[in-house]
């Protein structure tokens, strides 16, 4: 058991590929990404079989990595005593307008959920309880926590479980053997080692993809990463699988949320947690306009889009009206923010704002691709295996099953661990590291990953930042970003695809001056590849099902006849051609779906 420090940076970088240090690590189970889901994969794997050799490849340092690194103020789903897992699935289905969603996955997750949250409390997470010791609900399903230490608490247990954690190693590609996954490669961003992790089974839990779209707060500021999603989760896990032919599901159901304006902070904290109503510039309660869809309890995409619709018709700005909050409630709300998004408290202080006198302004976020809030991610079977044998997905990286949040990502980590262990028992032997086909794919990937560094800082090429920002502008303006109020159409999407193809062709001009930039170059290539998939998904859903999350100006209505199903994409690893297709929805949990 070890948590290997990343160490200080080296400024001496290899001059040619032969100088790149390669380290081969053999393991039973490889976990790519030691976040919320990944930590639970490790703990569960050790519980199932303590003799397994488990390795976590972590791009940051596991104690503060991924979406939970800043902390958390709530666990959005914990099944109350008088409700059932089926009730939770029905609620989740309502939140996405009746679906489609993978009810098989949702149900298995729901059955595992409370135990995973109980684990967190046993490990030291403060969950707020009332005077009788009962868990305090802030809404129907969500409970309040003091989660400033949430990530270190999970990470300590993953390390204690015996997993070997390789910090500061960024995943770059999957290792394949005759169509199955046999591990992955990674770049050590501090010392430049190229890692070859050979594994009997691999779980990818790299989170979702932020930073594909431009954030409006990046305009004329020194704040290019001022977004809701962890900006260091760029979709590398999706990209690694997509490049090897793993099927992606539902990326067009993007996560767009109402966030605090100018400094992205959570809004449910105020509107749900403290019942502060959403109002427009005239002081009208915005959600009363949506009373027929549930008002304040309307599906999430409707709540997310409502303030932006007000702006669009000239009734912005919009606010969360905090002016009637009692002082003790304000302190509790600020404490929530300090737990999840502490710098938002600093932001309010930098505006000199007393929230009992001035309401908190809100606006729409940039779009994110996520499998834990909305349902973009890998198509997985009930064991959480992707369509590439040996490759499993959990948490934000696994698709089809929205509204997982912290507890659900933890629960899914456990399920993926069990699935991976069952798979490895039946899997055949893998080729040795010296096998010619294996060695040549390692060499090819090393060459791809290190190419920008080999070109050097003086090369007349393209910096990773330039390409990232070109992509972000393209996606914002043509693939339904914030500046376009999330709307797009066939022609804009074709334009986006045309330019994505140019960017892919220009990977050959990327340059990196040091190892950090080399990581950025690889991240940017991943962003471009994931964006290609996103645009194909948006193109294929020729209807508007979840306005805001997915709005087609040219097909403004919901079309149940043709699109009450999943949109999928797959890239052929040999030709690079992307095909989009559909898979049917299956209702498993009874009840009326299309209430909204």
């Amino acid at each position: 058991m070890a948590n290997r420090p990343g160490g200080r940076r080296t400024t001496v970088t290899p001059k040619n590929l032969a100088e790149v240090r390669v380290e081969v690590v053999e393991c039973d189970l490889l976990i790519i990404g030691g976040g919320n889901a990944g930590c639970f994969v490790a703990v569960e794997a050790a519980k199932q079989n303590p003799s397994l050799k488990v390795v976590i490849m972590e791009k940051a340092e596991i104690m503060r990595s991924g979406a939970c690194s800043a902390g958390m103020d709530a666990i959005n789903t914990y099944i109350p005593e008088d409700k059932t897992p089926e009730d939770l699935v029905r609620w989740s289905r309502d939140q996405v307008g009746g679906g489609p969603l993978r009810e098989d996955l949702a149900l298995s997750n729901a059955r595992e959920l409370n135990e995973a949250v109980d684990d967190l409390e046993r490990w030291g997470l403060p969950i707020l309880r009332d005077e009788n010791g009962k868990i305090r609900y802030r809404g129907k399903w969500d409970i309040s926590i003091h989660g400033e230490q949430l990530k270190p608490i999970m990470a300590e247990k993953a390390v204690e479980s015996g997993a070997e954690v390789y910090n500061r190693v960024a995943g770059t590609g999957l290792l394949m053997d005759q169509g199955r996954c046999v591990g992955a490669t990674g770049l050590h961003v501090r010392n430049g080692t190229f890692y070859v992790f050979r594994a009997k089974a691999t779980v990818v839990s790299t989170g979702g993809a932020g930073t594909l779209y431009k954030s409006y707060t990046a305009d004329s500021t020194n704040s290019g990463a001022q977004i809701w999603m962890c900006p260091y989760c760029v979709g590398s896990g999706y990209a690694m699988g997509f490049r090897q032919g793993a099927e992606l599901s539902s990326l067009e159901q993007r996560w767009v949320a109402t966030r605090t304006k100018d400094f992205c902070g959570p809004v449910d904290t105020i509107s749900v947690g403290y019942k502060a109503p959403i109002i427009n510039c005239k002081g009208e309660k915005v959600m009363s306009r949506y009373a027929h869809l549930g008002g304040d309890a309307a599906p999430r995409y409707i709540r997310a889009n409502a303030p932006m619709e007000e702006w669009l018709v000239g009734r912005g700005p919009c606010y969360c009206d905090t002016r009637n909050m009692a002082p003790d409630k304000v302190t509790a709300m600020m404490t929530d923010y300090l737990n999840e998004r502490p710098s938002f408290v600093l932001f309010l202080a930098s505006r000199g704002q007393d929230v009992t006198k001035e309401p908190i302004e809100i606006y729409g976020s940039d779009p994110y691709i996520l499998g834990g809030h909305t349902m973009g991610g890998f198509w997985v079977d009930i064991e959480r295996m992707t369509t590439v044998p040996g490759l499993f997905a959990a948490g934000e990286t696994a698709g089809g099953n929205p509204n997982k949040f912290v507890g659900g990502c933890a629960a899914e980590g456990k399920l993926a661990a069990r699935g991976a262990i069952a798979y490895m028992k039946a899997a055949g032997p893998m080729p040795g590291p010296a096998d010619p086909a294996f060695a040549s794919q390692v060499e090819a990937e090393k060459s791809r990953v290190f190419a920008p560094l080999m070109r050097g800082a003086e090369y007349d090429g393209v910096t990773p930042r330039e390409m990232k920002e070109r992509l972000q502008r393209l996606m914002d303006e043509y693939a339904g970003g914030t500046s376009q109020f999330y709307r797009t159409n066939e022609e804009r999407l074709d334009y986006a695809l045309k330019h994505i193809a140019i960017l892919q062709d220009q990977f050959k001009f990327l340059k990196a001056a040091d190892l950090h930039e080399l990581m950025e170059a690889n991240e940017t290539m991943d962003r471009v590849d994931v964006s290609e998939a996103v645009v194909h998904h948006l193109k294929a859903r020729r209807e508007t099902r979840w306005a805001g999350w997915q709005t087609r100006s040219d097909y403004p209505e919901r079309d149940d006849k043709n699109f009450d199903c999943f949109v999928e994409t797959r890239r052929d690893p040999k030709t690079g051609a992307v095909e989009a297709f559909t898979r049917p929805y299956e209702q498993i949990v009874s009840g009326e779906r299309m209430k909204a």
Binding site: G6, M63, G124, R168, N222, T331, M334, L346, A349, R351
Partner: protein, 108 residues
């Protein structure tokens, strides 16, 4: 945006395998300059403002600042990490000070 490092307080965590801020930053943005031995943020534009570095600094040498384009000069928010508690001290642009203290761990 940017963690601002107060140079007179920073010793780059000399003697450790890496400085606490280099260890904590989820974006690999904090670096100790080999020549000066002081930490700095290599790309303030890429900072998420998660305050992990600010919490981790043993010398309280790091302050998180809001970019001026988004918030005015100058407010501060300082975390003081205890064994199972955290204290935050916040000062707004009018000089108004507020403290928050709560338990962040049930046990160690």
């Amino acid at each position: 945006m940017p963690p601002k490092v107060q140079h007179h307080k920073c010793n780059g965590c000399a003697g450790l395998p890496e400085s606490r801020c280099e260890e904590a930053c989820p974006g690999d943005l904090m670096v100790v300059d080999e020549a000066t031995g002081k930490a700095y943020c290599r790309s303030t534009r890429d900072c998420w403002d998660c305050m992990s570095c600010t919490k981790a600094c043993p010398a309280a040498a790091i302050e998180t600042r809001i970019p001026y384009q988004l918030g005015y000069h100058k407010a501060s928010l300082r975390p003081i990490m205890g064994k199972d508690r955290i204290i935050w001290k916040c000062v707004d642009i009018h000089g108004q000070e507020t403290s928050y203290e709560y338990k962040n761990r049930l046990k160690r």
